[in-house]
C-alpha cells in the first residue's frame, strides 16, 4: 500500500525537481536579475537567513488562518442549524446571507479594518467572513437532505425536534458540511492573506502577506518569494488537515471515503 502511494507520487515529484533545476539553470544562464525573478537557490538561502523573521510571520498567518476556520465553522454550523430549525429566521436572513456571500470579500476587508479598532480582531473578522459561507450553504443544503422515508420513520416514532436534528439531520448533513469545510480551509488562508495585505503594516506581529509587501518595498525579492513559498506550505497543510479530518469523520460509512477492492 505504502509503496504504491510512493509510485503514484513519483511523477509529480520528478516533475517538480526538473522544473526547479530548469528554473535555476535559466536564471543563471541568462543572468536574470532578482527583481524579475530570483532562482530557487536564492529563495532557499533567503528562507534560511531570514528564518527568524519569516517563522514569526508564518506563525502569525497560521494562527490567523486556523482561528478564522474555527470561527467560520462554529458560526456557519450555528447559522445553518438556526436557518433549518426556523422558517422565520431563514426567510428573514437568508437573502442577506446570499447578498453578503456574493459581495467580494476583498471589497469589504478595508471597511472592517477601518471600523474595528483592534487590528487582531479585525484580521480574524475579515478572514472568518471569507471562510464562513461555504460552510453555511453546504450545511443548510445537508440539513434539508434527509431521506424522506427516514423522516417519516422519525415521525412515526414521535421523535422530538431535537431528536430528529441530532439523530437524523445532522448526520445527513455531515458529508455536506465537510465538503464546505474543506473549501473553507483554503478560503480561510485566502481571507487571512487578503486581510493582512489590507491591514498592511498596521499590525504588529505581522503575517506573511505583510512580509511580502515589506520585502517588495525593500527590493528583497528572494525573501518575498520565500514568504510566498511559506503561504503555499500553509495552503497545502490546510488541504491535508481538512481532508484528513473529513476522512476521519466519514471513513466508516460514506462512499467518498471508502476504498473499494477490485
Amino acid at each position: 500500500m505504502k509503496r504504491r502511494r510512493w509510485r503514484t507520487a513519483l511523477p509529480a515529484v520528478l516533475m517538480g525537481a526538473a522544473l526547479l533545476v530548469l528554473w535555476e539553470a535559466w536564471v543563471r544562464h541568462f543572468d536574470v536579475p532578482t527583481y524579475i525573478i530570483p532562482g530557487p537557490v536564492a529563495i532557499a538561502k533567503a528562507l534560511v537567513t531570514d528564518w527568524p523573521v519569516l517563522a514569526s510571520s508564518l506563525l502569525a498567518t497560521l494562527r490567523l488562518t486556523l482561528f478564522a476556520l474555527l470561527f467560520a465553522t462554529v458560526g456557519g454550523l450555528a447559522a445553518a442549524i438556526a436557518f433549518s430549525e426556523s422558517r422565520f429566521i431563514e426567510r428573514t436572513l437568508f437573502p442577506y446571507a446570499v447578498i453578503l456571500q456574493v459581495t467580494p470579500s476583498v471589497a469589504i476587508a478595508p471597511l472592517i479594518i477601518i471600523w474595528v479598532n483592534n487590528t487582531a480582531v479585525a484580521l480574524i473578522l475579515c478572514a472568518t467572513f471569507v471562510a464562513f459561507f461555504p460552510i453555511l450553504s453546504a450545511t443548510v443544503t445537508g440539513l434539508k437532505s434527509a431521506d424522506h422515508h427516514l423522516t417519516e420513520l422519525f415521525e412515526l416514532y414521535r421523535a422530538r425536534r431535537w431528536q430528529s436534528l441530532v439523530y437524523l439531520r445532522l448526520p445527513t448533513a455531515l458529508p455536506y458540511f465537510l465538503s464546505g469545510f474543506r473549501i473553507s480551509g483554503g478560503l480561510a488562508l485566502v481571507g487571512a492573506v487578503v486581510a493582512e495585505f489590507v491591514a498592511g503594516s498596521g499590525g504588529h506581529g505581522s503575517g506573511l502577506a505583510y512580509r511580502i509587501l515589506d520585502a517588495g518595498y525593500q527590493l528583497q525579492f528572494p525573501r518575498l518569494f520565500a514568504a510566498l513559498v511559506l503561504i503555499s506550505v500553509i495552503g497545502v497543510g490546510m488541504h491535508f488537515l481538512t481532508s484528513f479530518l473529513s476522512y476521519l469523520c466519514l471513513r466508516t460509512w460514506h462512499e467518498s471515503s471508502l476504498e473499494r477492492e477490485r
Binding site: 422515508h149 420513520l153 422519525f154 416514532y157 431528536q163 460509512w253
Partner: protein, 258 residues
C-alpha cells in the same frame, strides 16, 4: 384462531390537493392478530391506505376505529406500530445494531433494556452476527432483514409492510417470505402487507383484499384457508394454492380493466 377486530375502516376517502382521488368509499375490516394483504396494481392507493393506517397521512373522509381501546388519536399513530418501507431505509452512518435500536432510542428506553430488545430482534431475523456491520456491507436481503428487525424491536401490536420485498431477487424474496411467516406465527402481531404479487399475497396471508385504481377501492375479499404449518415450498404447486391464484388474478384483471 383470530378473534375480534383490530381495525375497522368505514367509507374511507383520501384526495390530494392536486385533485387526485387516491381512495374513495373504502371499507375494510382487519382482524385482530391476522395477516392481511392489500393487493393491487400501482396507483390503486394501497400505499396511501397503509400510510393512513400508520398515522402518517390523515384521511379526507371516513373513519378508522381500533375497537380494542386503541383509538386513532387526533394527531397520534396507532400504538405499537411497526412500519417497513419498500427500501430498507437504513441510516448509513449507523451500525446494524444502532439502526435497529432507533425506535427505542427515540422513546428513550433504558440502555440495557434496549440492548436486550435489539438482541432479540436481530436474532429473530437471523442477523445476530452482524450487529456491528454497517448497512453498506450488507446485501439487499440482509438490509431488508435489518429493516424488519427495526420494525419489530418495539414488539408492536401492528406491523405494516409496504412492498418490502419488491426490489429483491426471487430467491431472497422466497426466503424472506418464509421468515416473515414464521415471525408472524410466533408473535401474532396484526399484519398488513402491501404487494402487487398475487402469489406472495396468497402465500403469506390469511386474508387478501384486492384493490382497483381510479378511485382506489376494495373490489375483492378472499380468505386463504391454508394452515400456517402447510405454507411451505410444496404448497405453491398445490391445486388449492393455484385455484386461489387464478381466482384472485382474475379479479385483479377485472378491476384493472374497469
Amino acid at each position: 384462531m383470530t378473534s375480534g377486530v383490530f381495525a375497522s375502516i368505514r367509507d374511507l376517502g383520501k384526495h390530494f390537493a392536486d385533485g387526485t382521488v387516491a381512495l374513495q368509499g373504502l371499507n375494510l375490516t382487519i382482524p385482530l392478530g391476522g395477516f392481511v394483504s392489500l393487493l393491487g396494481p400501482s396507483g390503486c392507493g394501497k400505499s396511501t391506505l397503509l400510510r393512513i393506517l400508520a398515522g402518517l397521512t390523515r384521511p379526507s373522509s371516513g373513519s378508522i376505529e381500533f375497537p380494542h381501546g386503541e383509538s386513532h388519536a387526533a394527531r397520534g399513530n396507532p400504538p405499537g406500530v411497526g412500519f417497513v418501507f419498500q427500501e430498507p431505509t437504513l441510516m448509513p452512518w449507523a451500525s446494524v445494531m444502532h439502526n435497529v435500536a432507533l425506535p427505542l432510542r427515540l422513546s428513550r428506553t433504558p440502555k440495557d433494556q434496549a440492548a436486550d430488545m435489539v438482541r432479540t430482534a436481530l436474532a429473530s431475523v437471523g442477523l445476530s452476527d452482524f450487529a456491528h456491520a454497517y448497512p453498506r456491507q450488507l446485501s439487499g436481503g440482509m438490509k431488508m432483514r435489518v429493516s424488519i428487525a427495526r420494525a419489530i424491536v418495539t414488539r408492536p401490536t401492528f406491523l405494516l409492510l409496504d412492498e418490502p420485498f419488491a426490489a429483491l431477487d426471487e430467491l431472497t424474496r422466497l426466503n424472506l417470505n418464509n421468515d416473515l411467516l414464521e415471525l408472524w406465527s410466533r408473535e401474532r402481531f396484526t399484519t398488513v402487507f402491501v404487494t402487487h404479487s398475487v402469489s406472495e399475497a396468497v402465500y403469506l396471508s390469511q386474508q387478501v383484499f384486492v384493490m382497483a385504481p381510479r378511485p382506489g377501492r376494495v373490489t375483492g375479499d378472499y380468505s386463504i384457508d391454508i394452515p400456517p404449518a402447510q405454507r411451505t415450498a410444496e404448497v405453491r404447486t398445490s391445486i388449492l394454492f393455484n385455484d386461489y391464484l387464478r381466482t384472485i388474478a382474475h379479479r385483479l384483471r377485472e378491476g384493472a380493466a374497469s
